[in-house]
């Protein structure tokens, strides 16, 4: 036994044979590399251009079709931290899934970034909104069919929105506002809301309002009937396949590895240039950069500010920038019990004047952020109109306000933050909290930093137990309504946490939601923000920019705050 057991060692000890063994090993590796390089050549696209998109309607500028040149086709690989739970459009509520929703599904309306204020028709060729903003009527575009070949009809719209609501999953609340839907004919959908809401059109841009092929989804066990949360069985299938009308179809998803999409050969509109898109799970930013520079991936989504700066200097990639709708804010409790000195509006205003906003953006974010006047992000309705309400750093004014509040000698403040946490824009919670503490010390406020485990801080903040804290907000949908209500109306998500209550602000924001005329809405939102800023329970610190590195041969890559990127417009030369 022992001779056999050690026979390989004996062989290995004979030098010549040992060398032969190692060279065999190297050969095997070499062969592997060859295998790696010998990829099947990208087959040239054969899809003949089908019907051009129907002429854009109402506010839509006719989308100029991207000329499909000879250089179409190929595989486009995105390196990304793929944080998704599901690819079912009516259940997904994460950060990566919208890219897939944007590619494989379509919605009644859309936006054309960088303009995110104008909602444009898409699957609906026109929409009609009653003056009381309670009834929305959509006329579907003719000749739209799903990847399956089925015609897209008003029944599919009703099925999709009902299913969204009945699944009772994380995004279902978005559809709660729908009271009834009618389909006078196959091309018309009339939606009545439970209350007047001018934000509904913008809500329909959200990936959750994607239109699903009801025939296919039902075949896979899907249902839109009450009780769907227990009876619907289509999610497992929708995690691996798509049932949409978009320019791509989902080919498979291996969790934390890859999401594979292929061009929809049946697409009703201008076909996509790319033949295949793979979203690959690469958690480490440095690795993402190496893959991009080596040409193994075409886009890197999770690079930090330092890596972006290095790439820019090296000139090895293009940097695509765009405004996210994320905001980071400083929250101050307004009650005397919890907020203590902060219960005095003048003290909160003093803090608003003491924070060095430019320093935060320039030093911590390397300039990759903007600062809207209030917690409603830049780019949305009613934000430019409120520019005059923006706080500018003014230490003199801060000291003066503290003096007026009888706190000329300063006071003690406890600033709670997530220990080891990360704020929006990838900023370390500790760095941001320390910077603010430094700023406040300059006007005599003695800050005690209070780090807590991220989930503990969040739970305490949600329970309204913190004197002040830094926190982030990510968008639910593309309308100021998504911020105005939670921040401005007493008892709502954010306002509750700092016991903020100003009936005037709440009234302005609620009235804005019921107003059809965009100019009047913008005015109401601006007025509400002015009052909100004067009360200063929340101070917006920054709104980070998205920074994406793409290969130098990539064209047409534009950041989209809703679906990440419109992949149908992306090409490689």
């Amino acid at each position: 036994m022992s001779t056999e057991r050690t026979a390989w060692l004996t062989i290995a000890m004979q030098r010549r044979r040992f060398l032969r063994l190692t060279s065999l090993g190297a050969g095997l590796i070499g062969a592997g590399l060859l295998g790696a390089c010998a990829r099947p050549p990208a087959t040239p696209t054969t899809a003949a251009p089908t019907a051009a998109p129907a002429p854009g309607q109402t506010p839509a500028p006719a989308a100029s079709p991207t000329p499909v040149t000879a250089a179409t086709g190929g595989t486009f690989v995105i390196a990304r931290l793929t944080d998704t739970i599901t690819l079912d459009p009516s259940r997904q509520y994460e950060l990566t899934s919208p890219i897939v929703m944007g590619a494989c599904y379509e919605r009644l309306v859309t936006i054309q970034p960088p303009d995110i204020r104008t909602v444009q028709p898409h699957l609906a060729e026109k929409f009609d909104i009653t003056q009381d903003v309670t009834t929305y009527t959509f006329t579907l575009r003719e000749g739209v069919h799903f990847a399956s070949g089925n015609q897209l009809t008003s029944a599919d719209v009703v099925f999709s929105f009902n299913r969204l609501r009945e699944l009772k999953d994380n995004p279902s609340w978005l559809a709660d506002i729908i009271q009834a839907m009618e389909t006078p004919d196959a091309r018309t959908v009339r939606i009545r809301l439970t209350e007047p809401n001018a934000a509904f059109l913008a809500m329909l841009v959200s990936p959750n309002f994607s239109i699903l092929d009801s025939t296919v989804v039902k075949q896979q066990g899907g249902t839109d009937q009450p009780g769907a949360d227990k009876t619907d069985k289509a999610t497992e299938w929708l995690n691996q396949n798509s049932a949409g009308s978009g320019p791509f179809v989902l080919k498979g998803w291996v969790k934390e590895q890859e999401i594979v999409m292929e061009r929809n050969p049946n697409y009703w509109g201008q076909p996509a240039a790319l033949e295949r898109v793979i979203i690959r799970h690469i958690p480490d930013p440095t690795t993402q950069r190496q893959l991009l520079e080596s040409g193994d991936v075409d886009a890197a989504h999770n690079l930090d500010a330092d890596l972006i700066a290095e790439l820019e200097q090296a000139g090895t990639a293009q940097i695509v920038r765009g405004d996210t709708l994320d905001t980071e804010y400083f929250a101050m409790h307004t009650s005397p019990e919890i907020g203590k000195e902060l219960a005095d509006k003048r003290v909160r205003q003093a803090i608003a004047y003491a924070i060095d906003y430019d320093g935060i953006i320039q030093q911590i974010l390397r300039g990759a952020a903007v600062r809207p006047p209030s917690v409603i992000p830049s780019g949305l309705l009613g934000v430019t109109e409120a520019e005059d309400a923006r706080y500018q750093t003014n230490l003199e004014r801060a000291r003066q306000l503290l003096g007026e509040a009888g706190l000329a000698n300063g006071f003690d403040l406890t600033l709670t933050f997530s220990s080891g946490g990360t704020e929006v824009g990838g900023v370390s919670s500790e760095v941001l909290a320390s910077k603010i503490a430094d700023d406040l010390r300059k006007v005599g406020i003695r800050v005690t930093l209070d780090p807590r485990a991220p989930d503990v801080r969040l739970a305490d903040y949600r329970a309204g137990k913190l004197q002040c804290t830094i926190s982030g907000w990510t968008p639910d949908f593309l309308d100021p309504h998504g911020w105005a209500i939670p921040f401005g109306v007493p008892g709502e998500a954010a306002a509750k946490r700092v016991a903020y209550n100003n009936p005037q602000v709440a009234d302005l924001f609620q009235r804005a939601a019921r107003t059809a005329d965009p100019q009047e809405r913008a005015r109401l939102y601006a007025e509400g923000q002015r009052l909100l800023n004067e009360d200063a329970p929340f101070l917006c610190l920054y709104q980070p920019k998205a920074q994406i590195a793409v290969g130098k041969n990539v064209q047409g890559y534009v950041f989209d705050p809703v679906i990440g990127v419109d992949l149908s417009k992306v090409r490689k030369s």
């Binding site: 060692l9 790696a36 990829r39 690989v77 590895q257 690469i282 739970a459």
Partner: protein, 338 residues
């Protein structure tokens, strides 16, 4: 005799595994934070009805002992519960991820054992010569270099600069995974009859395997060297040499067998740690294994996932220890008897 020994060792593992579930359950449920508040999105977390629904769905509304009994009952049926974050059965998550880890750990072990033992033997045979010094430096470097640094450096050098080896991931980014059969890409690619994919998978194992195996390689080299040096001084070796045996037979047959016992222990233990502790390597090389799964689960307070992965790793350790013990028995009959 050997059969009895194996059986005895096997029976001992049952109370051990039971104890592990109890400790893991208690520790993970003692965390003073509400997992729901850490997991649910803004809207859902501020809606009492949704919170209640999730509490019920995951059994968090019951008392701790009740939850534990419930957990054990499901466990006996092979049900590890539903992960709070992936919303899938933990067993399924592990089933998909564990093969990736085993594949990587095997590559690492293959590298560590071949290179480590070779270096150890060379150093012992040419004791205090230049080859010994060189081998010791190599093993010291292997033991001391932090894995994340070594990983980034190796990628930068062999992948980004020299383009000798493929980059992170189990396959090239532009290729797609073979159809899931076993979860081992080496096997699945062959089953799919795709030889070029198989070679691609092998090539992708080289760099992370070496990085992950570097520590084990260093330890094994040092263990082999010192154990062999001890044995080489023994009387029976002198006798063997006096009988006129060839030197390579003396070393590889007579000395090495006795020197293997401590080495086998180390190999067993490091294999266990390779399976459980590959978090950094897995992150740098975008390897979807259970090490990263464990860390993610712990960070997100995903209790069923934490329990599941801890149990799996515990089982792996128990098996590795068991195999090691049996190997001792084979290598050294005295252990079998005692």
């Amino acid at each position: 005799m050997l059969g009895q020994f194996v059986l005895r060792r096997f029976i001992l593992t049952i109370p051990l595994l039971f104890g592990i579930t109890l400790v893991t359950f208690t520790v993970s449920h003692l965390i003073p934070a509400d997992p729901l508040m850490a997991i649910l999105p803004e809207r859902a977390a501020s809606d009492p009805e949704t919170v209640r629904m999730y509490r019920e769905r995951w059994g968090l509304d019951r008392s701790l002992p009740e939850q534990y009994v419930f957990y054990l009952r499901n466990l006996l049926r092979g049900d590890l519960g539903e992960s709070y974050t992936s919303r899938r059965p933990v067993a399924q998550d592990l089933r998909e991820r564990f093969p990736a880890t085993v594949e990587l750990a095997s590559a690492a072990m293959l590298y560590a054992v071949t290179i480590g033992m070779t270096l150890g033997i060379l150093s012992a045979v040419w004791h205090e010569r230049w080859i010994d010094h060189l081998a010791r430096v190599i093993s010291l470097v292997g033991v001391s270099l932090p894995v994340f640094w070594l990983g980034l450096l190796a990628l930068q050098l062999f992948y980004a600069n020299l383009r000798l080896l493929p980059g992170p991931g189990r396959i090239d980014p532009r290729l797609t995974a073979p159809p899931f059969r076993t979860g081992f890409y080496t096997i699945d690619s062959l089953l799919a009859g795709d030889l070029s994919l198989f070679l691609n998978v092998l090539a992708h194992l080289v760099l992370p395997g070496m990085v992950l195996g570097s520590y084990a390689m260093g330890i094994i080299a040092r263990m082999t060297r010192s154990a062999l040096l001890d044995v080489l001084g023994a009387d029976y070796i002198r006798t063997a040499r006096a009988k006129g045996l060839m030197e390579h037979r003396v070393i590889l047959v007579h000395a090495l067998r006795n020197a293997l016992i401590p080495t086998v222990t180390v190999i067993g233990l490091t294999f266990g740690s390779l399976l459980a502790g590959a978090v950094l390597t897995e992150t740098i090389f975008a390897w979807p294994g259970i090490g990263r799964y464990a860390v993610d689960a712990a960070m997100k307070l995903d209790l069923p996932a934490v329990m599941g992965v801890t149990l799996l790793i515990a089982v792996v350790y128990v098996i590795v220890n068991f195999v090691t013990d049996v190997l001792y028995g084979i290598l050294d009959p005295r252990i079998r008897v005692s």
